[in-house]
Amino acid sequence: MKKRILSSILALTMAAGLLAGCGGSKTATWTVTCPWAPSGVAAMVSQKAAAMSTDYSENIILVADAIKGDAATVNTWVADTKADDTELVFAGEGLFSITSILDPAKLQFTYDDFMFVENLYSSVFVMSADAKLNIKGIEDLKVYAEGVDEISVAANGATSSEAFLAAALFGSMGFGDKLKITPYSSAAEAAQAVARGETNFAVSHQSQILETYQQGGVTIVCAFDGEDISEGEFAGVEGVGKYGYPYFRNRCFVLARSGTKAETVAELKKLYDDILANDEMSAWLNDTMMLEVDTMSEADVQEHIQNVQDIVNEYYDIVVG
C-alpha cells in the first residue's frame, strides 16, 4: 500500500511539473556567462544585475553564471551557441585587445562572432607606491624615476591590463628600459607586495588597494584616466591623461551571439540600462565596488578596443621583453 501511495505521489508530482512547463509563458531566461572567477568584480556585478532583472522586465529574466576560464570559456561559449540563443557572455579589452595580439591562437573567435549589448561599468586603475618612497604625484614620480636604475612594478599577471598600463606610463615618460614588471597571482598579492617593499609600485583597481592605503602601507601616485579622481577616498589623485600619457579604463561588455535579432538585443540593452539607472545599483557600484556606471554604444566599444590595441602594440616590447 505504502509503495502505491508513494508511486502515485511521484506520478502526480511529475505530471504537475510537466503541466507547469506548458504554460505558454513569454518569459525568456537569458544566461549571462562570466568567464572569470565567481568572486571577481564582473561576476558580482552580473549577479547583482541579474537579481534586479525581474523588477524591470516581464519578458526577460537574467541568470548570472560564472565559469572561470577566460578565453577557454568564451571559446566554448561561441562553439556552443548560435544566433537567437538566450545566452549572453562577458568579454573585455583583455581578450579583444591584449590576447588577440599576444597570443591570437588562444582565441577561436573574433569580435564579429558577437553582438554588443551593453557595457555595465568601467574601472579606473591606480598606481600605488611603497609609502617609504613618499611619492604622491606624477612630478614626484618623474624625479624618482630619473634617479634610479630600476623601477619595479607589481601587477596581477605578466601580460595583464595593469602590466600594459605600467609599461605605457613609464615607456611614454622615457623610462621603459628601467621598468621591471613583477607578476603576482592576484591583485591582492600585488598590493601586499608593494606594502612589504618587494616592489616599488603596484597597479591595481582602486578597491583592491584601498585597505593597504588606509593602513598607511602605500601612497597613491596617479590614476590611469583622463582627469583627476573627483570623489571618494582617492579624490584628487592625478589622472595621467592630464600630462598626455596614454591610459585606458577596464571595461567588460555584455555580448550576444552574432545574428541575434536586433530588437531582442535592443530589449536586452534597455533592460541593462534600466537596471544601471537604478539608484541602489549605481550607489553599490560607486561605493562598494569603486566602479562607475558606464553605458556605451557600439562605436564607443570599437574605439576602446582600438585604443588598448594601440597601447599594446606600442609597448609590447617593454612587457613581453
Binding site: A37, P38, S39, G40, I67, K68, G69, D70, A71, A72, T73, N75, T76, L102, D103, A105, K106, Q108, E150, S152, G157, A158, T159, K180, T182, P183, Y184, S185, S186, A188, E189, Q192, A193, R196, E198, T199, E211, T212
Partner: protein
C-alpha cells in the same frame, strides 16, 4: 579579534549554516564508517555543491564532513575490526577488543566523547592561535613562501609509503602536472598541446576525483563482490562508562589533543601520525599498560582525541599561509578560493568576520557531531554493511556529476577518467597517489615563488636567506631531511639484522 566576534556570530547563527553543518556531519559520519570510502573522497564528491554556496555555509558543510569523518572511521574499526578511515587504525587496536568483550556501545561512546573533545580543543586553538600565526604570515614575502613550500615538499617522505623512490617519482608526476597551463611568470602556455581547455591548467578537484575516487571503483571492479557482515545484536550493552574509566580517560585525552594540534599545525602531517603517536604516548604513560591491545579505554580515547584534534589545527597553516595541513584540507582550499577568500595575506583583517565565523563554526561542528553521534550511532553502524553493488554505482554517479559541475564541461569528465586510469596504473606499480596530490598542490606555488623571488633579487639566491623566517624554514627543511635519512638508515639496519 573582538571586533570581529559579533559580526561573525551574526553570520554564523543562521538556520542555513546549522542545517549544512548537520548535513555535513551526517554524510561525513556515514562515509567514514564505510571501509574504503575515505573522508577525502567524500569531500571531493561534495565539493562542487559548495561552489553555489557562500563561504560560510560551504565551509560549514565541508568541515562537518571533515570532522565527522574523524569520528566515523572509528565505528567500523570498533564494530568489524576494519578502520573506516586510515587514521582510525589506532582506535581499532583497543576499540574492537572492547567490543568483543561485550562493551560495543561503551567503546563507541568513548570514541565519540574523545573525538568531540579533541575537535573542540582543536577548534579553540585555531580560534586563538590562528590570528597570531596569521600576523606572522603577513610578514612572509615571496622568498619566505618559497621556503615554506620547500619545507612542505619534504612531507612527501612521510606519505610515500614503503618506497621513498616511488613516492618521489609520484611527487614529480604531480609537479609536472602542475606545470600544465599558462606559465605563471610569462603567461605563455606550457604542455597544453593546443587544447584550449588546458590554458588555465588542470583543476585540482577534477584530478582528485580521478586519482582518489574513480580509481577505487576501478579497483573494486577487479575484486569479487563481498559484503561486510555486522551483527547488530552486539550493540545491546548498556554503554555505561564507569567513573574510574572517565578519570582514566582525562589525561590521555588532553595530552593527545595537544599532540594532535601540534601535529596538525605542521603542514603535510596528518591524523594517522597523530593518532599513532598519541596511542604510543598514552601506552607509555599509562598505569595499566597491560590493557593496551585488549580493550583499553585510554587507548581508544588517546587515538580518537588525537585524530580529531588535527582537524582544526590543519586549518591554521591553510588559512594563514595557504599551505594545506593534509590532503582533505588541500581540497577545502578551493572552496575558500572560489568564494574569493585567498588564504594568507590579509585574510584575517579583510575578511575577519567570515574567518571568525568559520572558526567559531568549527566548535559547533564538533558539538553537533557529539549530538548526532549520541543519537545516530546505531544508524551509522548499519551503513557499514551496505552492499558494494549498490554503493559503487552511486559513487560513479557522484564522480561524473562532480567533475562536470566544476566547469560545466564534458572535457573535465574525460580528464577525471584519464586520471583514474593513471592512478590505477600507478597502483599496479605500487606507487602512492598522495605524493601526486602534494606535487600538484605545492608545484605551482613553489615554482611561482621561486621564480618571482629570483626576479625580485635580480637572480641573487641570497634572497632565500634574507630574513629570519627564511632561515627558520631552511633549518626546518634541513632537519626534516636529516631525520628522514636517519630513519631510513635505521630501517635499513633493522632489515639487515633480520
Amino acid at each position: 579579534m573582538l571586533e570581529y566576534i559579533v559580526p561573525a556570530l551574526q553570520h554564523l547563527f543562521t538556520l542555513e549554516n546549522f542545517l549544512w553543518i548537520n548535513i555535513g556531519v551526517f554524510i561525513g559520519s556515514v562515509f567514514a564508517a564505510i571501509p574504503g570510502l575515505s573522508v577525502i573522497l567524500c569531500v571531493i564528491l561534495f565539493l562542487p555543491f559548495t561552489y553555489r554556496m557562500t563561504a560560510i555555509p560551504g565551509m560549514m558543510f565541508l568541515l562537518g564532513i571533515y570532522c565527522a569523518g574523524g569520528y566515523g572511521g572509528s565505528v567500523s574499526a570498533i564494530l568489524i575490526n576494519t578502520p573506516g578511515t586510515p587514521h582510525a587504525a589506532a582506535t581499532m587496536m583497543d576499540g574492537h577488543p572492547l567490543s568483543r568483550n561485550g562493551r560495543t556501545k561503551a567503546a563507541l561512546k568513548i570514541a565519540l566523547y574523545a573525538s568531540a573533545f579533541g575537535g573542540v580543543f582543536s577548534a579553540l586553538m585555531l580560534l586563538f592561535l590562528g590570528p597570531q600565526v596569521a600576523q606572522i604570515a603577513a610578514q612572509l614575502g615571496t622568498a619566505e613562501y618559497f621556503m615554506v613550500c620547500l619545507f612542505g615538499l619534504t612531507i612527501i617522505a612521510g606519505v610515500s609509503g614503503k618506497s621513498m623512490i616511488k613516492g618521489i617519482i609520484a611527487a614529480c608526476i604531480g609537479l609536472l602536472i602542475s606545470c600544465i597551463g599558462a606559465d605563471p611568470m610569462t603567461s605563455y602556455d606550457r604542455f597544453t598541446f593546443g587544447v584550449p581547455r588546458l590554458y588555465l591548467g588542470l583543476d585540482l578537484a577534477i584530478c582528485l576525483i580521478g586519482l582518489f575516487a574513480l580509481v577505487e571503483v576501478l579497483a573494486k571492479a577487479e575484486k569479487k563482490p563481498g559484503q561486510l557482515i555486522l551483527d547488530s545484536k552486539k550493540m545491546n550493552d548498556n554503554g555505561e562508562i564507569t567513573k574510574d574509566e572517565f578519570k582514566r580517560m582525562i589525561r590521555p585525552t588532553i595530552l593527545s589533543s595537544i599532540i594532535g594540534v601540534l601535529v596538525g599545525i605542521i603542514p603535510g602531517t596528518g591524523a594517522s601520525e597523530a593518532s599513532w603517536f598519541s596511542y604510543d604516548r598514552a601506552k607509555a604513560m599509562s598505569k595499566h599498560k597491560e590493557e593496551f591491545g585488549h580493550g583499553s579505554v585510554e587507548g581508544i580515547a588517546a587515538a580518537e582525541s588525537a585524530n580529531n584534534a588535527v582537524t582544526g589545527a590543519t586549518l591554521i597553516p591553510l588559512l594563514t599561509m595557504g599551505i594545506p595541513g593534509d590532503g582533505t584540507v588541500a581540497i577545502m582550499l578551493s572552496a575558500l578560493m572560489i568564494n574569493g577568500l585567498n588564504p594568507g595575506l590579509s585574510l584575517f583583517t579583510t575578511q575577519g568576520d567570515i574567518m571568525y565565523a568559520i572558526m567559531i563554526g568549527l566548535v559547533f561542528v564538533n558539538l553537533f557531531m557529539l549530538l548526532q553521534g549520541t543519537f545516530l550511532t546505531r544508524l551509522f553502524a548499519k551503513v557499514v554493511s551496505i552492499p558494494q553493488e549498490i554503493l559503487t554505482p552511486i559513487i560513479v554517479l557522484f564522480c561524473f556529476a562532480g567533475a562536470y559541475s566544476v566547469n560545466k564541461n564534458y572535457f573535465d569528465v574525460g580528464v577525471a577518467l584519464i586520471f583514474a586510469v593513471i592512478a590505477w596504473l600507478l597502483r599496479k606499480l605500487d606507487m602512492p597517489p598522495v605524493p601526486i596530490l602534494l606535487g600538484m598542490v605545492l608545484g605551482n606555488m613553489t615554482e611561482t615563488n621561486f621564480r618571482r623571488a629570483l626576479l625580485i633579487s635580480n637572480g641573487s639566491p641570497k634572497i632565500f636567506v634574507s630574513s629570519i623566517y627564511c632561515i627558520i624554514f631552511v633549518i626546518l627543511t634541513v632537519l626534516a631531511v636529516a631525520t628522514l635519512i636517519r630513519s631510513k638508515m635505521k630501517e635499513a639496519k633493522g632489515e639487515t639484522k633480520r
